[in-house]
Amino acid sequence: MKHFKRIGRLGILTLLLFISTSSLLFGQRVVRGTVSAGQGGETLPGVNIVVKGTTRGTTTDIDGKYAIDLQAADRILVFSYTGYETLEVDVSGRSEVNVALKEATTMLEEFVVIGYGVVRKSDLTGAVSSVKSDDIRKITASNPTQALQGKVAGVQVTTTSGAPGAGLAVRIRGVSNFGNTSPIYVVDGVILDDISFLNSGDIQSMEVLKDASATAIYGSRGANGVILITTNRGEAKSSGKPQVSLSTEFSMQRLAKKIDLLSGKEFAIISNEIKPGSFNNVDAVPNTDWQSLIFRTAPMHNHQIAISAGNDRLNSYVGVGLYHQDGIIPKSFYKRLSLKLNNSYKVVDGLTIGNNVTLSPYQQRNAPNVTYSVYRAQPVLKPYYDDGSFGVVYNVGNPLADLEYSNSYNTGIRAVGNLFAELNVKKDFFFRTSFGIDGGYNKSMSFTPAYTVYNPDGTASQQDNQFSDLFKGQNESLTWLWENTLTWLKTFDKHSFNAVAGYTMQRSRSEFISFAGQNILRDSRDFWYILPPYILDETNNINMLQSIYNGVDANLYYSMISYLGRVNYTYDNRFIGTVTFRRDGSSKFAPGNRYSNFPSFALGWNLANEKFMQKVDLLSMLKLRASWGIIGNEKISYYDRFSRVNSGLFAVFSNPDAAYPAATYGKTGNPDLKWESTTQTNVGVEAGVLNNKLTGEFDFYNRVTDDILVELSTPGHLGNGMGQRVRYNAAKVLNRGFEFNLRWRETISKDLNYSIGLLGTTIHNEVLTIGGNSGIDSTLIGGYLGNGQPVTLSRVGLPVGAFYGYLTDGIFQNQAELNAYPHMSLADVGDLRFVDVNKDGKINGLDRTYIGSPIPKFVFGFNVEVNYKNWDMSLDIQGQYGNKIFNGKDVVRPDPYNFEKYVFDRWRGEGTSNTVPKPAFGGYNYFPSDFFILDGSYIRLRNVSVGYTLPSNLVKQWQMENVRAYVKANNIYTLTKYTGYTPEIGGFDVLSNGIDNGVYPIAAVVSVGLNINF
């Protein structure tokens, strides 16, 4: 706090100095004022002001204000600014001159938020894409990042599950390592790993930083890309009246598509073929559609009130949002209240202080993942017995009973915000200090009563919980980030500088505690506490506290110190150069490897501003840019470098048994760990033709990530134990691709305008090395199915998380064919024919090979917007091409489960089928093979919406400014060959990408809503 005081004092001092100096100068006068974009529009920083006929001049500050010393003869000031028409103003005899610049008709100048600053889009050398609030609100989702899907070239957003409040897997420009490939988020300057707490309605814009020039300012954390989020700020309106906006939306969600499974009769027919005599009369068996019994139509609603107010001293924004989503599986919901408070207060001219705060309490109820058991449950079993009790579902458990007895909740609050002060130190220098926090507190609780589902003969089935179980957990985390930056904005002659230097510190702390108990006294919620008197072992009358755990979240326990700097230089609005540098130190690495440097260099050329291009009328904008840089990644556990002692062990001796604590060496840590670094090259072109009716952006990127922080299996003889991996800097991955973003905008008349956008990205992903110089592990195995079988193998030359298994080439049609081909002893006539890949005459594990990639070759989006009179319509289509899905839910069959419909087209004798083998409840045909690899390409109608804005003369009578009503539909149609609920199979683990183990399906949503502005 001491430091803040100093800033204040210093600021006032500087300010006094500034004012006194200017007034003391004799024979001169000062003209001051504000430059804005149009009448009552936003103020413009960095506007070039020159005294006509001289080289003397200045630029406007961050608030668009300027002050210039004039000599007696000076009469005319020239205001120039890229994207605006140059304006000459006679200032003789005036001391305050406010200027409104008119937007140049040929150029739609935009400002782009970049790390630690703002630049004009024309001065930008990096690859940055923006999404504005209107687009963000189009998708009804708890997490605003969903809005980026199909909207930003190079960004792939995948829901990990359709469960309310579930996370998103976000990947920018491919998959660059084997661990955490999520970007970082920077919300109003606070660096975060996740923004699930944020209400879409509070967001003004999201900027996706993709290339090294844009991300290098975030150094060690920029390698997976950076998403900058600017939240709404209070605005001064000319009327001085606060602006109030209300929005409310109601939605219904339903299962978009059922999986085509066998009916009761079909299942009975197939069962009789597998095991003759299983069903005597296939026409008399029950036919239970488990999917219809489980999935429901569920409501969702989303409301917001926002108040924005301001005057020339104080700006304030208050947003209150309520999001409530019920899941399409009963007993699941997500509720969130978000409170947003952004203020800024101009203490004196040149000193602004403020805050951005979000508080988000939430409550989530989680349904057990019954999708898997619904898929498996035999349709010939009845959900209930005649007496109304739950019927047994062999091997799987009755999903209705699972739901009935499940009680699982998360409740918590997330608080994110910062306090900042901005000081205009001297005319071109701006100092900003910001202290941000990200605090979270979460409680989880689950209770399962004692219950039994009985077999028809009255004995207990395996779906049997003898004692009630209660689990409680709490975790808390607090991260603080202190950032100090000094910005220099200077323009003289044709030179323009925008430079920033800074110093930041960050610390993250966390702790959790959890405990589990059994045999709670009563089942009702009033008893869900772990108090020894309530926890009874009926036979011994002793408490049954099962376990207590306490520790830290290894990913949220670290500290960092960083130095950063960037210079952006523009010459004559034609040539741009950007140099960025960041030096980061992290506690996650040993002292010798602690610091690393992340530089980047970029050049841009606004060709359209060249004289020789002025004659090309067709072309309204053309910019070339190129960048190169190194960025890092350090998302590992804070203790990976340490060799730790495992003290959670026990020996058991004596009679009766007694436990004796034990401790010994755990797995060996790696003290040599250092940063993972990505070297990225980007070449881009931005062009506009026909007065920017048609604009396009094209980028080619090449990212090579080296020294990837990857956990490798170590040789067994090191004694690290089964499945224990040690982290090394030991792999290299390439991501290369081409991005484009095209938009056609046209205003046909006062009543009609429209725009059409098309964007896409190609991704080439390839592992260049694994194992590196660690001397171990040349492959990485992952993607473990429910039965522990791995189905992905990443190795040199293949994509990250490539599927592997047997290749098939048909069905053994007869005994002669079986005898003629190498086959496993388990193989029989009518079974799949596996290819002898290594040609050793045998079929065994060594014949497993690459059978497909989970990474799409091409990701795309298509958007249309039309405004006609008071009507507006939008359409968003999004999709991907070239990725495969491994149908993991079909493969794991230890017991007789139901089948997908394709099984009915089975082999039934020579020549009947060469694609689907004879049916079996498991075994040979269910070895992971390309038989279970399905095409994951899809085109999805992501959003269709139609809105109507009430005539303004009508709403004015109601004291309203604007009223819009709309209907929209999200995810209502998906064109795909994939047979599961959704081809969008996401996961955070890149080695388990694209494996459908029975995800919670994503719902189709239909909504109606109303927006009112006062």
């Binding site: 210093l10 500087t14 047994v392 062999y394 220098f429 100092f431 004995t459 003898q466 100090n484 000094l486 110093y503 510190m505 610390r507 830290v552 670290y558 500290s559 110190i561 130190g585 992290s586 506690s587 804070y638 340490f642 060799s643 730790r644 003290s647 026990f650 020996a651 058991v652 001796f653 004596s654 009679n655 048994d657 007694a658 436990a659 604590p661 034990a662 401790a663 010994t664 060496y665 060996t668 299996s713 170590t714 040789p715 067994g716 003889h717 004694g719 134990g721 089964m722 224990q724 001397g775 040349s778 195995i781 522990g788 002893s825 388990l826 594990g845 060594l846 230890p894 498991g922 075994g923």
Partner: protein
Amino acid sequence: MKRTLIYFAALLLIGSSCKDFLDIKPQGELTQEAFPTTASDALLATNAAYATLRGWHYHSGGYPILDIMSDDTHKGSNPNDQLNTLGPYDNFTITPTQDGLDRWWASLYEGIKRANVVIEKVPLIAMDTNLRGRYVAEARFLRGLYYFDLVRAWGGVPLVLSTTPPLKLPRSTAAEIYVQIEKDWLFAASRLPEKGEYNSQDLGRASKGAAKAFLAKMYLFRKDFVKAEQYALEVINGPQLYDLEQNFAHANSREGEHGIESVFEIGAFETENALGNQYANTQGVRGTPNRGWGFNRPSENLRNGFEADDPRMKLTIIDLGDVIDGITILGDGSTPDYIYDDNGNIMERECYNRKVWIPGLSTNTQYGHNRRLMRFSDVLLMAAEALNENNKPGQALTYLNRVRARARMGNNAILPDITVTDKDALRNLILNERRFELALEGHRFWDLVRTGKAPQVLGPLGFQAGKHELLPIPQNEIDISQGTLTQNPNW
């Protein structure tokens, strides 16, 4: 301007002055440089070397594959359960990538590492020298135990005797591994207290008797029958600490835990957490009562091999309809009660391992089975075997018949004393007695291999001489070693 720069420079200095700011140590955990350094650390480290024994992976990778590979059992559970992962052990169609091999390998080396921590670090600690010596001897006993599994399962393996082995380490020969086991166990036998010398709270720690019994076993595998005889007889005739339980069931049941017949066993709590042992749950009755997964199904060959009315049969095999400790065994709905071959003969029937049965209603209690790694009856049969090989059939019969006498459990009409003195015939009878006395305890497969009878007995099940005596080195270990490890012959 100058002032600003000064101020800014001052800010930078604040950062560089906070060197400690970036020093974050593991929370709640020691690092290995700081352990073990005290007398209590030494005890903790020694206890940890035992903890591996309760790990699921320690027990041949989790599933009782040694029994499944023998003629005593089949895979078990319902026909599809673990069909591809465990099934191939039943008919010798396993491959180097077979499920479980890597788990067993890793677990044994984890135990070796834990023993090496004690052997390498504890001698450096200033503490009671007797206790220190005992800790090291316990660790060397356990290290020998882990290597004994490794060498029998895979032959020569990488020999690790320090806590910092090289990343790439080729296989030593089987003989070299046996030399190390012998050194460790001789050391343990000379330094460990007898079972009776331990305090009651230390019951279950490695003892002199246990070290000697395992030495006897190791010498049998090395066909050094003189030393095998010597150590087996030292256990039998030493301080008279061991005898047979009167009731055969108690040799493995809860009643006999740490009892008179127990030479070395693995203590475990009846809880489904780290204090329990899943070994018995893996083989527990499937279905009703729900006591486990139901793997390791006794074969018809074993059932029919018992001598007439041998009470050990019902104390080895649980059948449907049996009532044990008041609980009726109903079995599993998805498991056929009988599986017939094409001629209508029973190939398998639903039945379970009785030796791992623990009374109780939940699967939890099943975790409390104390697996016996060395029983006194095993020592008696080892003595009999060694004596017969050393041409002392008379003495051999004494010990063999002592085992049979107990098996009779008072019914003199059954299991008559054996009187055969022909060496070859007696060898077969002793091996046969081992089969029925020690059935489902993990001995049969290796007994067949070490006596050379495996091709004859297991050949019909798929065993190939020259190949299946050893398991294949786990393929992923070969891959990770980048060729440093070589595969066993014919795999």
